[in-house]
Symmetry: C2
Subunit: 275 residues, 2 copies
């Protein structure tokens, strides 16, 4: 028997991956969690039927959600990751020696538990001494922690299910208040081929709150359309104004100082979403 996992990324289009075996399947308190072993992309975390991360291509997302903002802030000591229970963003944050403490607020403890078990190359740094893991609601956490963070990363699932509030204007306002006076944040904001209206809405909301708002992209094969966007809101520092000659060498497979600049250059149809 051949087993294939198919994600319908839209009603009419999808990806399909050959599966060696199912490693775990569970209805958690928040979502359907599946861990499968695929032939092409290694172990794969699937939430509510959507690919969250895979061993083969996870480095793109995790490097690109962290390094552009962390290298924009001159001294990111106190960092928050909302979501990101697989631990990949944490692994990348810890490559920055200035970071004294990084808090992970993941609503679903089962994501952490099964990522540690089946995605050790991604989740392996969750027990680092600089990391505080909270199984809690990210929305509530930011509202309880004002003027706390230098950098916040929103590493959420899609805007359906438990992550829906993380795409609302009130959440970005809360982030603004949870950041210190020179802080900045980044959120994953889906793809421009199938979700252009979402990108436009988030960009508009963030621009109404933050003085500096930027959109950037990267390529992730297992995510819809292969092109992923991130939206930055910043109180003071402009990610495009960074002197990339000052960025130190770190161990990455996607991000480079030149990518730090180039990722903000948008194809025309994407640039139009920010106008």
């Amino acid at each position: 028997m051949e087993l294939w996992f198919t994600e319908k990324q839209t009603e009419n289009f999808g990806i399909t991956a050959k599966v060696n075996k199912s490693l775990h399947t569970e209805k958690t308190d928040f979502q359907q969690l599946d861990m499968i072993q695929t032939k092409e992309f290694g172990n794969m975390l699937v939430l509510d039927g959507m690919v969250m991360t895979t061993e083969k291509d996870e480095f793109v997302y995790h490097e690109m959600v962290t390094h552009p903002v962390l290298f924009t802030h001159p001294n990111p000591k106190h960092v928050l990751v909302v979501g990101g229970g697989d631990g990949g963003a944490i692994r990348e944050v810890l490559k920055h020696p200035q970071v004294e403490k990084v808090v992970l607020v993941e609503i679903d403890g089962k994501v952490i538990e099964y990522s540690k078990k089946y995605l050790p190359s991604i989740a392996g740094k969750l027990d680092d001494a600089r990391v505080e893991v909270l199984v809690d609601d990210g929305f509530m956490h930011i509202h309880k922690n004002k003027n706390q963070y230098d950098v916040i990363m929103v590493d959420s699932t899609e805007p359906v299910g438990p992550a829906a509030p993380l795409f609302e204007r009130g959440f970005y306002q809360g982030i603004y208040e949870s950041l210190k006076e020179d802080g900045l944040f980044v959120a994953q904001t889906d793809n421009p081929w199938f979700k252009s209206e979402l990108i436009k809405k988030v960009f508009k909301d963030v621009r109404e709150i933050f003085p500096i708002t930027k959109l950037y992209t990267c390529n992730i094969p297992t995510y819809p359309s292969g092109m992923w966007t991130f939206t930055i809101g910043s109180k003071k520092y402009d990610p495009e104004a960074v002197d990339i000659s000052t960025i130190p060498e770190i161990d990455t497979k996607y991000y480079t100082p030149k990518i730090h600049k180039a990722c903000f250059v948008l194809p025309r149809f994407v640039e139009l979403l920010t106008k």
Copy 2:
């Protein structure tokens, strides 16, 4: 009944698209040709089971195979497109007023015939007065036409079937000889996630023949991994040295002068393929 077309982009991974209806299916002298109407991407040309182009995302490939090389050459008068029977590259070439003549050499006349019929927004310029369409072997054409072209574009299918010779070193040597003394060429060279060895081989072959060799990327949702590469070989002009402030405004949806620079900035794992 629901009809879905699935392309296995590798043995273990693929895309799947909902199909309204099959418009045409034929075994030509060279390949299996299918034209289908999909819900997500509009009409889609499929050769030997592989997506060649779709109405919705074709603009990326066709803009990015033409404008970077054409805006690198200061006066591209005489242009050759090898393959490209759908006519999309021709449409973009004709946006350059300096081009006096563009020759299309497509081995399979059926691709031209059914593109004109079912992809009119792509093939609509094939009857332009500046275009000469030859149904012929591209490999032979370049060997018969020495010192002829300012710019050559290799808009081929994958390196299996009729296009296999277009990925061999002898073909690039032939292109070198078919170009004028300051000419340059570009070839589509597949994706870095599943075909990294092919990219390395082509880059090495081209670098042994041309003094300037460059790799660049773009995002195409219906192509494997969503990230596509192109390889340029140039005798004189460096595509990265173009003063982009001199690039005139043209009607595009993906390419912009800033993209002209940014597309050459490679993620680290892709850059390593060129070392």
